[in-house]
Symmetry: D4
Amino acid sequence: MTKVKLDEIDHQILDMLIDNTRTPFTDIAKKLLISAGTVHVRVKKMEESGIIKGSSLTLDYVKLGYSFIAYVGIFLEKTHQTKFVLERLSQIPYVTVAHITTGKFNIFCKIRARDTTHAKNIIFKIDDIDGISRTETMISLEESINDKKRLMHTIFNEL
Amino acid sequence: MTKVKLDEIDHQILDMLIDNTRTPFTDIAKKLLISAGTVHVRVKKMEESGIIKGSSLTLDYVKLGYSFIAYVGIFLEKTHQTKFVLERLSQIPYVTVAHITTGKFNIFCKIRARDTTHAKNIIFKIDDIDGISRTETMISLEESINDKKRLMHTIFNEL
Amino acid sequence: MTKVKLDEIDHQILDMLIDNTRTPFTDIAKKLLISAGTVHVRVKKMEESGIIKGSSLTLDYVKLGYSFIAYVGIFLEKTHQTKFVLERLSQIPYVTVAHITTGKFNIFCKIRARDTTHAKNIIFKIDDIDGISRTETMISLEESINDKKRLMHTIFNEL
Amino acid sequence: MTKVKLDEIDHQILDMLIDNTRTPFTDIAKKLLISAGTVHVRVKKMEESGIIKGSSLTLDYVKLGYSFIAYVGIFLEKTHQTKFVLERLSQIPYVTVAHITTGKFNIFCKIRARDTTHAKNIIFKIDDIDGISRTETMISLEESINDKKRLMHTIFNEL
Amino acid sequence: MTKVKLDEIDHQILDMLIDNTRTPFTDIAKKLLISAGTVHVRVKKMEESGIIKGSSLTLDYVKLGYSFIAYVGIFLEKTHQTKFVLERLSQIPYVTVAHITTGKFNIFCKIRARDTTHAKNIIFKIDDIDGISRTETMISLEESINDKKRLMHTIFNEL
Amino acid sequence: MTKVKLDEIDHQILDMLIDNTRTPFTDIAKKLLISAGTVHVRVKKMEESGIIKGSSLTLDYVKLGYSFIAYVGIFLEKTHQTKFVLERLSQIPYVTVAHITTGKFNIFCKIRARDTTHAKNIIFKIDDIDGISRTETMISLEESINDKKRLMHTIFNEL
Amino acid sequence: MTKVKLDEIDHQILDMLIDNTRTPFTDIAKKLLISAGTVHVRVKKMEESGIIKGSSLTLDYVKLGYSFIAYVGIFLEKTHQTKFVLERLSQIPYVTVAHITTGKFNIFCKIRARDTTHAKNIIFKIDDIDGISRTETMISLEESINDKKRLMHTIFNEL
Amino acid sequence: MTKVKLDEIDHQILDMLIDNTRTPFTDIAKKLLISAGTVHVRVKKMEESGIIKGSSLTLDYVKLGYSFIAYVGIFLEKTHQTKFVLERLSQIPYVTVAHITTGKFNIFCKIRARDTTHAKNIIFKIDDIDGISRTETMISLEESINDKKRLMHTIFNEL
């Protein structure tokens, strides 16, 4: 887990791309008083070193009919099934996040569904994975914060 | 919560942008046998209707020195403080997600930190917000799945 | 709590009214080979003694847009507030059932709502009643049984 | 789950039947200044569309010797047994309500019994259903609210 | 469970025996201005009807070297094992009380032991009974009240 | 906590009195081939040393109309209130046992009541004692073992 | 468990060795105005009686790269596996402490690890021991007190 | 938290001192084929760098009359009181370990006491510290593993 060394210019490039990944490199170049080629080279370098793993759209799930979010805590029968269960979970697209956790759950995951009935079906699909003994569900009544940009800016200001 | 109507072309545009938000519109246009202008118009329309809320980089937090993830369940003294507490939480950049939830917690949030000591400081900062009576923390030992792209593709194939 | 004595005829009358409260007394009379007046007198007597407290329609809440059911467990600050809190709960029409209970909750109630957002508002209204320190919510994914008729028939067959 | 469209007259008819299902149609007709035939047609229509699923008596269970109410939370061995367990539960008439729920229980149900000993027998019968691993019981000390009429009136005033 | 009818004289006899079961019948007779034979007849009658099940010494367990008290909650694998488990428990003399309970435990019992090590051995013996899946122990730091006499006097004053 | 030394004769005397405290001393004397005076002297000595604290009747509470048993776990606001709360508990005759305990409760007590409603009133009385923040109740469905005699015999055989 | 009798000189010798086990016996002798031979004899006696079981270095684990401490609560399938499980635990050097406990866990242990990933591997190794059904982990954010010397001094001052 | 670099010789010196801190430096020197002066210099260096923080006796607490071990979980009213509470805990010598923890407790500590009554007094003293709202105690029935030497040897073999 060697940390990659980034310089001040890299930080400023990332800082701009975080807010809008489609910002043209020429705009970035102009702001930082460097050439667009330099921007290109540095972004490439950060992609190759793995710091930038990609980019993704931020969609409005409610508008797309997916307004139901729940957290599902999973109890396994035996932890040596962890890997197997995670593979099966990754085949259910409605499971967007999954963690191996300390505390009472072995695995803790987040699901997005259309509504209560859809959520029930997803939870049942999870419950039926071999090796899972029981699940507990906590339903989101409102997604109040979902924003990694504040963190990213903080990271680049800290460095 | 009126769902926006998207047609087949919109779905295919989104499907391509999900994987790489920087895909040039000319590439998308070529694949879908439409003009780049049409792509531009449709993306603009989806941005204006709020379906596309933006784009963000997917960074490797471990490489940036942020390898510690925890979920923090919050018990409030009284729920009429919910709004106030959420505002204070949104001032802590390490809190990347927060939900109002059913079950034993009033608010449930996710934090990213550099290490145990950093996490302790963040949790202490949360604990000191007025109106919070107690918190419970669950630490991630491994982030096994974190991928909304599978969900997005599923949504567009379903529609 | 003196139990009312009912005879065999009373049981049979109740048994028929349970399934359809609108069954004409003349139909009941014909089946039991008694006069409609007798049916009338006996039903009146059972109403006066308080055995029959009334009748109600069984509506399809899902068709009426109320598909969300949750159970809310309430922790009070002090139990001498129980009566006061129950009065306030009875002013929220979405609270259809409430019990003083043993176990971890002081009061346990059932709510019906239109959807997640509506449920959140109802729960917040409950949380804001003076004397309530905290609530825990359990959401119904499916109402699989809701039928007192089987019990009623059993009671009348037992007697 | 298409919602049925009801007009103002329908609401007023339901509003009257909710309080007393035996209200003669002629009384309803007189109050609403329409013909009894119209009332009949509209009630029929609401029955056929499934909005009105039937009617039931409200009996005084305490007077009938059934003063003991408990909620029983059920843990299943595996959730694919849910359907089977619900079928078995529906054969126990003392189980008047059962829900598939989120949270720590898989199924949550309500029972009515004569007394502690009777309740013990019912709980033992539930515990012995194949697929149930454990149950937890919460006993009602007082049924303080049990009234769906307030909700129904609210629904019809809202619409 | 027909309650036995006791008159005022019975109550007064019981009231005296509760405090000291060895009170001579002649002393009781003198106080109540009845004959010793009457006392004898009435005590006999109360023994035969089962109201008086016997008498026991109140010993000082601490002085006898038994200063350790614990409550043990038992989870069964299946409740149809309840009877069998209770029989096995009744063969362990250190288990002085056992109840079938509602709530999280199936059986709840009280043990008296000499010290921590002795308690461990008793708990292990309980844990090894077939049909018991798990136990939870709560240790008494001080037995502050253990007195049924106040209750008995209250009962006889109430009657 | 100096243990009192008892010899073999003492054990045998206690062993007989345990089963029936009214056994005449002459009967005990005959069985043990000693004089009644010796029995008297030794019992007196055991009373004075505090080993025998008294004797009590074993009554059938169900026959006396007290069929309801519950365990109540008490959470205090602050443990320095323990003494005060125990004094108040000892004024409620339906509280027959109370312990200061480890684990989640501060005080754990046992109550006997006539029925559910009576139990509710007792629990409410407990809840209203100053310094008690919350209680949790576990109801007995059946008192399966309540017998200290087996323990006493074991103790005297062990010594 | 016969307590060993130590006199005032023994206490003072122990009191000095507690703070620094390498204190030369001649220094101790000088302070206590006895001969070094006497110190030697008495330390030997305390080693032979088992009071002194040995000595150990106090190392700075953080400086050695072991900054992660967690407590792991273990649930066994059956308690007769306790001994076997403890033997297997004692083969994992990262488990520095293990107790058989009352309360919800059967065994409770403490682990030291290099970091989150290392801790995960240790917990997985524990989870895979036969007879363990589940574990719950509580992570230390800061080791604030770890000092048996205060206790030792207190013990010797008390004696 | 810069890790100190130790070489192979340092490891071997530590490895010997771990088992017996009183091992004469001349013995260590002979085994490692170096001079006693070198051993002295290296130990001094490790003390100055803080790797060796001291040494302590391993006493048999049971033989010293301290056979009672418990873990106490502490809930604070507010976490900003953490520091203050830890200071107060450090004044109670029976508290030998204390951690700030994740999970349900804010602080988790270990106590050693003479017996149940002594433990009760210590727990009461903890409960009365300002800022502590509640504690939960888990009692050790047997200390099965307490050995940091295996860990230390592992660390030095790993390095």
